[in-house]
Symmetry: C2
Subunit: 303 residues, 2 copies
């Protein structure tokens, strides 16, 4: 007769998530795993969600009292989420709180005061940048840098907010060390892509990665033998047309009030690329950059 597999299989591992923070923000996880919590543990969960600051500075006894449960329940709550204990949880909570209350917990309302709005937007920005950092694949960056240091010229293209980012990138041409172009209108962009050569690197910036004209330009550049780097917010049609893909994950701008934070994250990525390329080009190149910066200061002040 058939024997069912041993019951121990029912408890493989409580949580694959490591104890310290490389995963999703804590309060996010709290919401998603709320269903798998016990009734009394949920009381603790809502307490920490409503008043994380208090939790952070309190002892177990105080938390237990405030949530209306016993101390071991608080303890179980912490271990249920995969932490070593109360202290470990508190430390982790402090970490996420440093970036501000995550966006999902603080949507922007019409009647928010300016100070409220200020903190909310900063919180959202910092949390999103943190997310981008955690999800960034440095190998992609490495490939991109390798491509850029051997480039004879670089073209940055993008529409809307990404177009501004492209402008910013092109302005860093002293760091890249080769001529940089960032045409603004669609026709000029296509012309640039179309007249690219095998030495050209085309950097396509698109948050959605679905903008059709950009995909077309990427194809055109590749036909000319150019290398194409895509910087996008996630999996998208564009990424299958390119040589290197840098995925910059932020929090989706579901609420239309919340400003597009993705462009900030992309700007940071550009910073990383530019700096990496500059250091990769050796000391004499850096000397030229330094001299340029110095001269610019004089020019700016009108000396």
């Amino acid at each position: 007769m058939y024997e069912p597999p041993p019951a121990t299989l029912a408890a493989p591992e409580s949580l694959p998530v490591p104890t310290m923070g490389s995963g999703e923000p804590l309060l996010q996880r709290l919401a998603s795993e709320f269903g798998s919590l016990r009734k009394s543990e949920r009381k603790v969960a809502v307490m920490v969600a409503e008043n994380p600051e208090f939790f952070m500075h309190s002892t177990m006894a105080a938390v237990a009292e405030a949530a209306g449960v016993s101390e071991p329940t608080v303890m179980r709550f912490c271990t249920s989420l995969g932490f070593d204990g109360f202290q470990s949880f508190k430390i982790n909570l402090a970490q996420t709180l440093a970036l501000g209350i995550p966006a999902t917990h603080s949507a922007i309302n019409d009647d928010d005061s300016i100070p409220e709005l200020t903190t909310k937007i900063f919180d959202h920005t910092l949390t999103s940048l943190d997310r981008a950092r955690r999800n960034l694949d440095t190998r992609q960056i490495e490939s991109a840098v390798a491509m850029l240091v051997t480039a004879s010229n670089i073209i940055f293209i993008g529409f809307g907010a990404s177009g501004i980012v492209a402008q910013d990138a092109a302005q860093k041409f002293p760091l890249f060390g080769v001529p940089c172009l960032a045409p603004i209108d669609a026709h000029q962009q296509f012309m640039a892509a179309s007249s690219s050569t095998p030495g050209t690197v085309l950097v396509v910036i698109s948050n959605t990665g679905r903008t059709k004209p950009l995909i077309e330009m990427a194809r055109q550049a590749k036909r000319n033998g150019a290398s194409v780097i895509a910087i996008a917010g996630g999996d998208a049609p564009l990424l299958s047309e390119t040589d290197v893909n840098i995925v910059v994950k932020t929090f989706d701008d579901t609420d239309f009030y919340t400003p597009t934070v993705s462009r900030l994250a992309v700007l940071v990525v550009i910073d990383i690329l530019a700096t990496s390329v500059a250091t990769g080009r050796g000391p004499e190149h850096l000397g030229r950059v330094r001299a340029m910066k110095h001269d610019l200061t004089s020019f700016r002040n009108g000396d």
Copy 2:
């Protein structure tokens, strides 16, 4: 005979800094107050500076052992810096570490690997944005918003990186609800400032606040009765020529490797301004913005 003043005067208040984080980053303070620490406490200080992660996850006994001092010394170290105790210090340390190791502790070297460089730049960016947030005066924002909601048209100007920021700001004109201009070259900028009217609001973006042509443009706009808002990195000549000054403090880009993070902070401030103005204009305006966003998505995908 002369009696010296009572000795109690020698200990007025240990530290004016509040226990929780509104001041400078912790590791920064550690460096600046290192001199006023006792010999054994300094051992603890260097330990936490070298290996903050370890400190964060350890007990007092472990830290004492690692630093080669006794537990009370660790305790005194915490209180000397103005914290309630060991726990309080640990929580605060975790907070600062969440943003990454601050810039001053991790200057960029020529031989840094790409992953190293990535974390360093992200850390620097996040820390700087956090600093900008803490030092931002919301009353200045409020004044600026009050000015912008009554504007009939808005002009954004800036040079270099700030010029890009101006472009980005102008692109948010749907949120501002009035025509926005962001001329690129100096002559066009001056012409725009010169042809401004009392309904015009001129937003001058300059990190240094010393760029002479910009100051001249601000003067010109004021002569025409326009209102002028300055967004700058600190006290500077420009600020005495304007109606409202928004100071965005980041970390000075002393090292020329470190990319200019100030522009990112200013972008966030622009986000705040745009969102505030949009909500301030009432629901029917927001409805139009929402419709516009929806239509843009269709256009983008070429449907």
